[in-house]
């Protein structure tokens, strides 16, 4: 009887201990298989938009927030951190806690800050998630201007350096760098077509139709209403392919310039050090979003060019863009 009791005791002890061991071991196994995969997202995500509420970037941000909310099942709140030519918002996103609950919309200007010396923030401070938009520059002149092709305009600039003026954005902004790139490709020094800084494409277009300047290098959709109104005409679009909404406007190569062109892009990125599972979750949600009809319809109506790059492709793109922009800024003498 005593022996029997002992046996049962040993049996129970062994069973309990082994069960405990097993359970703890299995716990180890499950943790090892998915080492840092906590449930994500479990709370609201903040999306920092570096440009003002109501602008183009803000509109895309808010559309993304709405659609991401549906995909991820948590609220996505857009916060506009505005000012300093985009430096404030980009810096805020870069220095946010890399826990996956703060991500940022990043725009072309990120490639310029370090080169222009306005802020110490660049693509290296981010984990790229995706690119969702690209708007190439274009060459816009008044409708009654004597030049009917890009070549005629460039010939005139070559023959009369400094006489014509261009505008479209701030000094060192995207449309300014597009101008420098175009002139470089055509073998004309940048100061043959001086840049008059403006606070954006709209005031520059106003200046163009008022006769204050002669060329604007903003995007085609921005100049769309004025093209319709017969006030301005587009001589070329700085992209490898024509814009389907403006089929008559030739590309740079078609106009005889050996350059693919450049333009403004928008994308999403997380602060450096954000775990991979966050990047993957958001990137795959975004991949679904950009294929949705809702997104396509929104982008088309707003005249935003659609472009998709996943995390790795976007990372490569950012690195290359940073270098290209650096060279353009140097050649303009801004750096």
């Amino acid at each position: 009887m005593k022996n029997n009791e002992k046996k049962i005791f040993v049996f129970l002890t062994v069973t309990v201990v082994s069960l405990m061991l097993l359970s703890s071991f299995s716990g180890c196994v499950s943790q090892e298989a998915q080492p840092q995969q906590p449930e994500y997202p479990t709370k609201p995500i903040t999306l920092i938009c570096p440009w003002a509420a109501g602008g183009g970037t803000d509109r895309t941000s808010r559309m993304i927030a709405t659609l991401l909310e549906q995909e991820l099942g948590v609220p996505v709140n857009v916060i506009n951190k505005v000012g300093g030519g985009g430096t404030i918002g980009h810096s805020a996103a870069a220095t946010a806690s890399p826990d996956g609950y703060t991500i940022g919309v990043i725009t072309f200007e990120l490639s310029t800050f370090k080169h222009l010396g306005v802020a110490d923030v660049s693509y290296e401070d981010f984990e790229p998630i995706c690119q969702y938009n690209f708007d190439p520059a274009a060459v816009i002149v008044r409708a009654d201007a004597p030049w009917n092709s890009l070549q005629e305009l460039l010939d005139y600039i070559k023959a009369h350096p400094g006489e014509l003026k261009a505008s479209g954005t701030a000094r060192g902004g995207v449309w300014d760098l597009a101008r420098i790139g175009l002139l470089n490709a055509a073998g004309i020094p940048p100061d043959a077509l001086p840049w008059i800084p403006s606070t954006g494409a709209a005031p520059a277009l106003q200046e163009l139709i008022a006769g204050g300047i002669d060329v604007t290098t903003c995007s085609l959709p921005e100049a769309g209403p004025l093209i319709d109104a017969g006030k301005v005409k587009a001589l070329a679009v700085m992209a490898p392919e024509r814009n389907p909404a403006y089929p008559d406007v030739p590309t740079l190569r078609e106009a005889g310039i050996d350059w693919d062109g450049m333009g403004a892009w928008r994308g999403l990125a997380a602060p450096k050090g954000t775990p991979d599972y966050v990047i993957e979750t958001i990137a795959s949600a975004m991949e679904k979003i950009v294929q949705s009809d809702e997104w396509k319809d929104f982008m088309e109506k707003n005249g935003f060019g659609m472009e998709w790059k996943g995390p790795e492709e976007f990372a490569k793109f950012l690195e290359n863009d940073y270098q290209v922009v650096g060279e353009l800024i140097k050649s303009a003498g801004y750096a």
């Binding site: 003002a52 509420a53 109501g54 602008g55 183009g56 803000d58 509109r59 808010r62 559309m63 709405t66 916060i79 506009n80 951190k81 505005v82 000012g83 300093g84 030519g85 430096t87 404030i88 810096s91 222009l116 306005v118 802020a119 400094g162 003026k165 701030a170 000094r171 060192g172 001086p194 008059i196 800084p197 403006s198 606070t199 709209a202 005031p203 277009l205 106003q206 200046e207 139709i209 008022a210 006769g211 204050g212 300047i213 769309g224 209403p225 004025l226 319709d228 109104a229 017969g230 006030k231 929104f298 109506k301 707003n302 005249g303």
Partner: protein
């Protein structure tokens, strides 16, 4: 034409449109009342909702909201000397002092009447003369803008005509504040000391809240220390009296006509919005007034001039936005996005391809202004009750709203500190008798004058003659210089007459 109007009116059979307009206007009351929350911000927040509405509701919502918000901005101006939106800054001090002299609600009723009428004038001009005005506005380059801004700035001289030296000091302080941050032309950081937050410069709205609100809160607190908790006002606070409206409608016909036309046109110029329209109308009102000495001390005429102009400017701002896709102010800049999201590209084609919808939108402008009468009336009745709240409760409440308002402009704590800093500056300046409006005006116009001056010179290869090189510029420059020397000529003429 008639069939379009008929078709357009049919669109309002949809009750959703009217409901959306009313909800937007109620939201507009809240936005206008709260310092720091501007009509621009409200519209930006509403636009994402418009994506999921029909075009008339989506765009009508914006039109309805801005009309109410710009009026409601005058309510805290009258009650507490705090402009609810920047467009109320010009008339804030007059409206407040007048409210203390008479009854606040009476002043607000007059304000509401002229806001509505101004809004209707702006809308009518938009409806019937859009392409004409857009064509004229499209001739404005930086050179013309330079003169326009100089004209606006000379209003500071007019405002401070009693003691021009003090006005000059106010302008210089405003200019100094406006130079802080990355400059618009060369992208050079000024007075930033390497602090990234300073790069965006002094945000105008927190500075304005600080300048106007903090000195008033200090005054109110003094009364609390003296144990005067309830404000003594001569007449009943909520008393509904329309006698002042009847009187002012008769008396200020020409002031109203001039201000609303001017407001519409200034609003139609891209880059100059309802706020600048109000300043110019106010300054011009003083210059042409029979009682200029009342301005700045509670002039009803000044309030009428500014408030007619700012509401008229709203309609004006839509003119270049719809005709050329170039926004007239920050609200229409966002509205263009909302239009495009509805598949409506601004431009002449919009008028040809969507005539019924455009007609319906025009009708919305009129409806929004008619609804403004009712919503505005309710807002005045409700908010006047605030004056019955004991001061020791009211002051902390207003203070919290000011802090939240300053923060919300850029979601930046730095801006709250800016508000406090300008609060201290405001207290000191009012002690020394420097007119606060001149500081505010200079902060608004400083960057514009600098930008237009510098880029004009850049375009001309640093030739100062550029400012007289274009016909409209010459006309404007003559107007500006004439407006400077006119008073002294008139004075001289009077003296000569008296001698005779």
């Amino acid at each position: 034409m008639l069939e379009f109007i008929f078709e357009a009116l049919k669109m309002f059979q949809n009750p959703v449109v009217i409901i959306v307009i009313i909800i937007a206007q109620l939201f507009g009351v809240f936005i206008g009342l709260t310092p720091g929350l501007t009509a621009t911000l409200a519209v930006a927040l509403l636009v994402p909702f418009s994506y999921f509405m029909d075009p008339l509701s989506g765009i009508g919502m914006i039109i309805a909201l801005e009309a109410v918000a710009i009026f409601a901005g005058d309510i805290p101006a009258v009650l507490f000397r705090i402009p609810g939106t920047p467009s109320s800054a010009a008339q804030t001090i007059d409206a407040y002092l007048l409210g203390r002299k008479k009854s606040p609600s009476e002043v607000l009723y007059v304000d509401l009447a002229f806001s509505t009428l101004g809004g209707i004038v702006g809308s009518l001009i938009l409806i019937f003369a859009a392409s004409l005005i857009a064509e004229f506005a499209s001739k404005f380059s930086t050179v013309e803008y330079f003169w326009l801004v100089v004209w606006g700035l000379s209003m500071a001289i007019i405002i401070s005509s009693e003691d021009p030296k003090k006005g000059f000091i106010g302008v210089l302080i405003g200019f100094l504040a406006a130079t802080i941050g990355i400059d618009y032309v060369y992208g050079f950081p000024r007075f930033t000391f390497g602090i990234i937050e300073v790069q965006k410069g002094i945000s105008f709205i927190p500075a304005m809240i600080g300048l106007f609100a903090i000195p008033e809160l200090v005054n109110l607190s003094k009364a609390v220390v003296e144990r005067k908790y309830i404000m003594e006002l001569k007449e009943g606070i909520g008393k509904t009296s329309f006698s002042l409206i009847r009187e002012s409608l008769g008396k200020y016909k020409s002031v109203f006509a001039r201000s609303s036309l001017l407001g519409t046109f200034v609003g139609a110029l891209p880059g100059a919005g309802a706020d600048i329209a109000a300043w110019i109308a106010y300054g011009l009102g003083k210059r042409l007034s029979k009682k200029p000495e009342e301005y700045g001390k509670g002039s009803l005429e000044g309030v009428v001039a500014a408030t007619s102009a700012n509401n008229a400017g709203l309609g004006g701002a839509w003119i270049p936005a719809l005709v050329f896709g170039i926004p007239g102010d920050s609200i229409t800049a966002i509205a263009i996005g909302a239009l495009m999201a509805q598949g409506l590209r601004p431009g002449p084609l919009l008028f040809q391809e969507n005539r019924v919808l455009i007609t319906a939108l025009f009708i919305t402008f009129i409806i929004a202004n008619i609804f403004l009468i009712f919503i505005g009336y309710l807002a005045i009745r409700a908010s006047s009750k605030l004056l019955k709240v004991p001061r020791n409760v009211l002051i902390p409440l207003i203070f919290v709203f000011c802090v939240v308002g300053a923060y919300s402009v850029n979601n930046s704590l730095f801006d709250v500190w800016i508000m406090f800093l300008f609060g201290v500056i405001g207290v000191l300046l009012s002690k020394w008798g420097v007119p606060l409006q001149t500081v505010v005006l200079a902060i608004i116009l400083g960057p514009m004058i600098e930008y237009n001056f510098t880029t004009s010179l850049m375009k001309s290869g640093m030739n100062i003659g550029v400012f007289f090189s274009r016909p409209i510029a010459v006309l404007l420059s003559i107007m500006v210089i004439f407006s400077w020397i006119l008073p002294s000529i008139l004075k001289r003429m009077k003296k000569v007459k008296e001698l005779k």
